[in-house]
Symmetry: C2
Subunit: 322 residues, 2 copies
């Protein structure tokens, strides 16, 4: 007798499961989903479409002994949705390409899809297609399509001299957990965890874009020191941030808040006189610094607790890997 | 001294190379390409967008000892473009997610991108984004975005009783080469080869759609017996094809033409009175059968050389794998 838990995931079963989920959450932008050579999408009038793609590869982006299948599915889609949030846009549909290694339990694939679909349903994102294959390790590539009114996407390149720099939520929580996992600690992948179940800041991103409050925006996936560097590079500006203003997560340190990645909070700039509330729809917003120069030669400087200014090197979360 | 050929591909080098290619071929639909959280696309007025994704995984879809890097790059994009062709649509942009195994020579990655970009340029498809990662084997996932006038995409579901069934080009050439490769034969990956450098039938697909001549269409990726089955299933019809009418490639057999995949020719249906020329822009078009019933219970029947009718089982190209 074969136990249900021991059933091996097949491409056929996977496609059937994906079709069920595709039918379970609809988005009116999807004219034609799974079942033809391509999916057909229609943006709202006077909107542009946004596209983002993100890999989630076993032993690179997650480990089966650390992350539950639901967490891997959730994180896979959250990465893409967070990119949509960082443009101030609305997600419409996603496409999942999934490579299955030999002997992967069907139960793992089912729970992965459950985690992914739970987040998709929460944001009315329709699973509209994808591909399956065998692969040496679990290999997921997620494509998310979103829309935004024409010319209104919030780019990385709009920061100007004098703009203030803000972040949502707290920083460092995700990398603090990752550090614990690397040190051999066992962590329960609970729903409230920013590492295992990051919540893409779609409402906050759209709220800022609708009011025209943010001049530049990015999501914190690689870490504050790297991602603020992207805004500085694309906007050709320099920045200064204050260490004592950075909202450090309860389980984290300043170092983790500066360089740890995968927090999926939003980092944005706003003009000097723009009224940025201290919370947007319940999510804390903190000013952490200012844009200091019209070129990016000065790069990013960090003010320490004594008011001394030091250059901030873009270390990023890869720093914690080895 | 490290020879240039021995340089190992890094994600950093890869991203730099992708950015160069992204700048080399532009498509006006791409408002904002690589360099932000998402790419921004704008379809022409009164058009819908099409999305298709396809994996190309080492030792599943290609082998480094069989396929040149240029061929792998070309085939990777050709798979996606062929899906766009099968809807009668125009390709706009592509997104490449590429996972690199340890010790992959930089030269391999460069030649892969060269093969991909050559085909992209030929069809004015802009490389507009993607992702990179390390991976246990070469793992490419290509997303192609296209557009088609509203409501004009040619679906798999439009075939009607009495419609005639057509294919472009010759069938079986790709699987004939694959069979030789499996038997241990060495093949030179020449540009003219349908296996190594398949040409997506974009012009033919668009030509048929513009004239409203095709009721249903699909590209032959899995093999005639499987892909005609998809049209029958989605259109809820049955079909009969004549073995002596099937255009068999010079190096192939009837069996390979019926069940071999990766020919990337177009299979389409047209109403009884539609005038389908024997060639479209130089590409041969052959009537191979008719739609015989209003339901798909009778499935597909094959008329042999004696006029005897037999059920045609959907074997598909996987048949040739083992």
């Amino acid at each position: 007798m074969i136990s249900k838990n021991k059933t091996i995931a097949t491409e056929k079963n996977l496609i059937a499961a994906i079709r069920r989920l595709a039918a379970a959450t609809r988005n009116p932008a999807v004219i034609h989903g799974i079942g033809d050579d391509c999916a057909i999408l229609r943006a709202s009038p006077n909107h542009e479409l946004l596209v983002t793609t993100d890999f989630s590869i076993e032993n690179v982006h997650f480990r089966r002994e650390w992350h539950s299948a639901e967490s891997v599915g959730h994180r896979c889609l959250a990465r893409g949705l967070s990119d949509i949030a960082a443009m101030g846009a609305e997600p419409l549909a996603c496409f999942l390409s999934l490579g299955l290694p030999p002997k992967l339990p069907q139960r793992w694939a089912d729970r992965f899809l459950k985690g992914l679909h739970r987040l998709a349903r929460q944001h009315s994102v329709q699973l509209a297609g994808g591909d399956t294959s065998s692969a040496p390790q679990i290999t997921a590539d997620i494509v998310v399509i979103g829309q935004v009114p024409k010319g209104k996407a919030v780019l990385r390149s709009g920061a100007r001299l004098g703009d203030r720099i803000f972040v949502t939520g707290d920083l460092g929580a995700s990398s603090a957990d990752l550090k614990r996992l690397f040190s051999g600690q066992k962590l329960h992948p609970s729903r409230g965890s920013r590492h295992f179940f990051p919540e893409p800041r779609l409402h906050t991103g759209a709220w800022l874009r609708q009011r025209g409050l943010s001049t530049a925006m990015i999501d914190l996936s690689d870490g504050l020191s790297i991602d603020l560097g992207h805004i500085c590079d694309e906007s050709r500006v320099s920045a200064s941030i204050d260490s004592h203003r950075i909202p450090i997560a309860p389980n984290a340190t300043l170092d983790l808040a500066l360089h740890g990645g995968e927090d999926y909070e939003l980092l944005f700039t706003a003009p000097p006189r723009a009224k940025i509330p201290s919370a947007i729809q319940g999510l804390k917003v903190t000013q952490i610094g200012v844009i200091t120069a019209k070129n990016n030669r000065a790069a990013i400087r960090l003010l320490d607790e004594n008011g001394q200014s030091h250059p901030l090197k873009p270390l990023g979360w890869q720093h914690f890997r080895s």
